[in-house]
């Protein structure tokens, strides 16, 4: 039993927490931006898959790692625009369209992946982002290993939390996005176009989601394989509810979640065989459901979330 507790005091656990949280932070922030504007984006799972592939293949083809992230974000934005066009001006069901986008983006990715690499042996590897060494800081005991030995995309994710928080709360554009999610009629009546605002928000949100996928192939691992997203997108959707649609709480949720995940991975080795490993693997999904139950009644949902806005229709 003490072994199970000891895990909590290892630096490697906390370093892993930040690493595991990174794709969730990207995904949750992206989904949060979409939902704040009033659009549920269930395309997230597919968009993260696509981002993972595009990020990896860019580097595999000789591109820079940062170029990989940029291309991944761009690809995510393209599918984001598709989702936005279908759900915003056309007002199609956000649930079904989102699932359609996920099915399309992931099957498209697998198709292109197979076209690129017909051989189905072990997928080739790339040289991923390396942990950044900050002289002095990185050598600090514990803190150095946890906070100052991460890859650049992790820092980018943390920076994005601050930026998205600030933009939503303090800029005219953020106000427009929030108002579109609360009452698009109020936006239109003040001379802005809620349709355009929602499309823009979904596009940007989808680009950020794709970064979450790309992190997996360019920083956490070094290759792409199908089904590698493993429901992380759906977990992000649950985390958005958990966060009550607030970026800072989204970070908190992702970290909490990653802590459980990192902990269970290590606990598996401790209890070795006594509990089937699948029981541990189920934990993230069950935790997400628990988070949803916990927050469902408390969260302040954007009032116009999932309500299509058609001009001249009330």
């Amino acid at each position: 039993m003490s072994q199970a507790l000891d895990i909590l005091f290892t630096a490697s656990l906390w370093a892993a927490v930040l690493r595991i949280a990174t794709p969730l932070v990207f995904g949750t922030l992206g989904a949060l931006i979409c939902e704040r504007s009033g659009v549920l984006n269930l395309g997230i799972e597919g968009i993260m898959t696509l981002g993972a592939f595009v990020g990896w293949v860019t580097v595999y083809q000789g591109g820079d790692l940062w170029l990989g992230l940029a291309f991944a974000a761009f690809a995510g934005a393209i599918f984001g625009i598709l989702h936005a066009l279908l759900t915003v001006p056309l007002g199609l069901s956000q649930h079904v369209t989102g699932l359609g986008i996920t099915l399309f983006a992931s099957s498209f990715t697998y198709y292109v992946f197979r076209l690129w690499l017909p051989v189905s042996s072990t997928p080739p590897k790339i040289i991923p982002f390396q942990p950044v060494q900050i002289p002095g800081l990185s050598d600090l005991p514990f803190v150095g290993e946890v906070l100052f030995n991460q890859t650049m995309p992790t820092y980018l994710a943390l920076l994005l939390v601050v930026v998205v928080s600030y933009v939503l709360a303090n800029t005219p554009a953020g106000l427009a996005v929030r108002m579109s999610g609360e009452n698009p009629h109020a936006v239109e009546a003040q001379g802005l176009n809620p349709v355009a605002i929602r499309i823009a928000a979904v596009t940007i949100g989808s680009a950020i989601m794709a970064l979450g996928g790309a992190f997996l192939t360019t920083a956490a691992f070094d290759s792409f394989f199908p089904t590698m997203i493993q429901g992380r997108g759906w977990i992000c959707i649950a985390l958005v509810v958990f966060s009550s649609w607030r970026p800072s709480k989204a970070l908190l949720g992702a970290l909490l979640f990653a802590l459980f995940d990192a902990y269970q991975l290590r606990l598996q080795h401790v209890v070795e065989g006594a509990v089937p490993y699948q029981a541990f693997l189920m934990m993230p999904y069950l935790l997400s459901i628990a988070a949803l139950i916990l927050m469902a009644r408390r969260a302040r949902v954007p009032q116009a979330l999932m309500q299509p806005y058609r001009r001249g229709e009330r």
Binding site: L86, L90, H95, Y111, L115, P276, Q278, L286, R297
Partner: protein, 349 residues
């Protein structure tokens, strides 16, 4: 450009919409096929040939149609009352696991005529129970069932994996993770000898007809249609929304569970974690292509099965990755959504 609601929907449009959607999906997917250096028309010809070219391929396509009819029905009945059951994949697996768990030995003594229906009930019950949780969470706590059913798919498959590497592991499978086989007594009879086509197809078609008559003729069907179209008006009229949702969830989950049970007893004989190539998710596409009509589900399931079986053959013949089947199916979901929109709306300046 604005969308304006049509005052009435012309009868023909309802039939034309899915055809337009499929043609559009094939056209878009054709571009991707062309990228593989293959003439799309040739690829589509190969798909049809591979799906229909021989007696064997026809039976193979129909065998593939069977689970898709069930999962398509599962989605169709649920979506009709705005119950977003995206968990048919998980419900499929628990139904399948039931077949293996009970069909291995527990029911072996019973005559087939009794054992098979008992097994069907068990598979259906397992699927229904798995969906009941998310529905109760929605009714009690207001938790969106889309996310919970999606997440439960992963839980269900991990649970299957746990079982087939644990208590239900087949000791004779040389370490492969697969479940114990079902007893021959509970195997479904073949429809065509020496092929993989079994009477599950007939059960699926019967299920579609039953669902259709329930929806079209019964008071329950009538009331649940009202509840789906306008929850507020139905509530005002004194119909119980929670009751409708719970009964529908039972029905939807049961159909998905049956799909898994029948796939095991009719085709595979045991459970693995790759038993379903996404039947649960494809069922959503089937339901949408059918515009939620139970009889339309049969036709739509056949279409999706043709694409999947045909694409496998086409892939072998022409070297286009068989993932093109998933692409075609996914795009046809999106194009069908658009087509449905234009059956109810028209574009105005």
């Amino acid at each position: 450009m604005r969308l304006e609601r049509r005052t009435d929907v012309p009868a023909g449009v309802v039939v034309i919409a899915p055809i337009c959607a499929i043609v559009a999906a094939l056209a878009i997917s054709g571009i991707l096929i062309a990228f593989a250096g293959v003439n799309p028309l040739e690829a589509y010809r190969q798909i049809v040939v591979s799906a229909f070219g021989s007696r064997l391929s026809i039976t193979e396509t129909l065998a593939r149609t069977t689970p898709l009819i069930f999962t398509g029905l599962a989605a169709a009945v649920a979506f009709r009352v705005q119950l977003w059951n995206i968990g048919a994949e998980g419900q499929f697996y628990v139904g399948a696991l039931m077949a293996a768990a009970l069909g291995h030995a527990a029911l072996a003594g019973l005559p087939s005529a009794l054992a098979i229906p008992v097994l069907m009930l068990a598979g259906a019950a397992a699927g229904a129970l798995l969906l009941l949780g998310p529905v109760l969470l929605r009714l009690r706590f207001g938790v969106d069932e889309v996310v919970t059913t999606l997440l439960l798919n992963f839980v269900a498959i991990l649970f299957i994996s746990m079982m087939i590497e644990g208590p239900l592991k087949d000791p004779l499978a040389f370490g492969w993770p697969q479940s114990v086989p079902i007893s021959p007594d509970v195997a479904l009879p073949k429809l065509v000898a020496k092929t993989r086509l079994h009477i599950g197809l007939l059960i699926a078609i019967a299920a579609a007809v039953i669902v259709w008559s329930v929806q079209a003729r019964t008071v329950f069907g009538f009331e649940s249609r009202a509840a789906g179209l306008s929850p507020r008006a139905a509530t005002f009229a004194g119909l119980s929304l929670s009751r409708t949702l719970i009964v529908t969830a039972g029905l939807s989950g049961a159909l998905a569970g049956l799909a898994g049970m029948i796939e095991v007893t009719g085709l595979k004989g045991y459970v693995t974690t790759d038993l379903s190539p996404g039947y649960g998710y494809s069922g959503i596409v089937v339901a949408m292509l059918a515009a939620q009509h139970p009889l339309g589900v049969v036709a739509a399931a056949l279409f999706v099965a043709i694409v999947f079986v045909g694409a496998d053959g086409m892939s072998r013949a022409l070297g286009v990755p068989s993932f093109i089947a998933d692409v075609i199916v996914a795009i046809s979901l999106l194009t069908m959504l658009i087509a449905l929109l234009f059956t109810n709306y028209r574009v105005r300046r």
